[in-house]
Symmetry: C2
Subunit: 207 residues, 2 copies
């Protein structure tokens, strides 16, 4: 495919992403995809194979286009407690910016589609595993550097933080107020702060 | 309506609830509702007015049939920190029991439908407000009894707990493992435990 063709095709896929992100999988028909994205009906069935395969391509595209930027902070080799805190501040800023709050396509899909379509569940599952692994990596760093108490169970904390991201984005798509969203993140950060070594322990470790 | 007619009609509505709970609003057609619930097509459009009105009736029925039992613990006038802890243990037990984990219809709907249908958002919003108010009531009791520190911001805590319920049920419907769910609840309970007055403060208050 030539570069301009690829760009044009990516732009159409981006429009499909936006449509699914706002409305979910089941409410968006092939007719609407054709009408709104400029994809030909033949492309939905030919290039992608079906509406479901186009949806799966949209999830992969969303992950490259949107998720990757949020994950970057947690992916740095030295990521620790501060990176976890910045991650939650970043998603809070991103969630409250748009006039219409539509959450996260991946987490919307975890709820809407994943219990009933295995190949979609597989994409969601890989996303959840990756996010969890990033939290775990940051916690292991933080524990090794004495930022958090030695007794902290990093598996448990990683699972808790993963669930907190699902809670955050579900709340962000719900009719709850922006102040509820802020208070929610404040609670998650209180939990994270509770993992810290008390100052005397840290001094002892550093000393 | 005679009692037996009402029972029969409630049973059909219950089947609609179960169908929407498993599959969501947009994936369940009127054809399928007629086929699977025993409702007549005329009833969907006559008694309820439309598929959307039947869905809204299902949400109200779900709230009476399922949500009310979970809320009961938090509704008692003397509910405090222990009631909040029991609430989370109860939803954990309920979520892991079935072979297929389908989450909570109200929270699935908060994500799937509420940004795009105002009357549905209204039902979800009233559910969120009520749950939040119950958490707040329990926190106010707990603070008055010295179970939690006097400086605790009960508005913030109620919002955090509300978001945690959304996180829990979204995680429960996702492909995440049961052990992730348990770890998540453990994290929320750690947060709740962090609200407690330290033993000396409590003793001072009690004394």
């Amino acid at each position: 495919m030539r570069t301009t063709d690829r760009k044009r095709s990516d732009a159409k896929l981006d429009q499909a992403v936006d449509l699914f992100w706002d409305r979910g999988y089941y409410d968006v028909s092939v007719d609407e995809l054709v009408h709104r994205t400029g994809l030909h009906r033949a492309a939905v069935y030919g290039e992608f194979g079906s509406r479901q395969r186009l949806f799966e391509a949209s999830l992969r595209r969303y992950r490259e286009r949107v998720v990757a930027a949020f994950f970057a902070e947690l992916e740095r080799p030295e990521a620790g407690l501060a990176a976890i805190e910045r991650f939650f501040s970043t998603i809070l800023r991103a969630a409250v910016r748009p006039k219409k709050r539509i959450g996260c396509l991946m987490i919307n899909t975890a709820s809407e589609v994943s219990p009933n379509i295995r190949s979609v569940a597989h994409i969601v599952s890989s996303y959840l595993d990756d996010l969890r692994a990033r939290f775990q990596h940051a916690c292991i760093n933080a524990r090794a550097r004495g930022e958090i108490r030695r007794g902290v169970d990093v598996d448990q904390v990683a699972d808790y933080l993963l669930g907190s991201v699902l809670g955050f984005w579900t709340l962000a798509r719900s009719p709850a107020s922006t102040s509820t969203l802020r208070h929610y993140v404040q609670g998650v950060l209180t939990f994270v702060d509770g993992l810290r070594s008390r100052s005397d322990d840290t001094r002892a470790l550093r000393g």
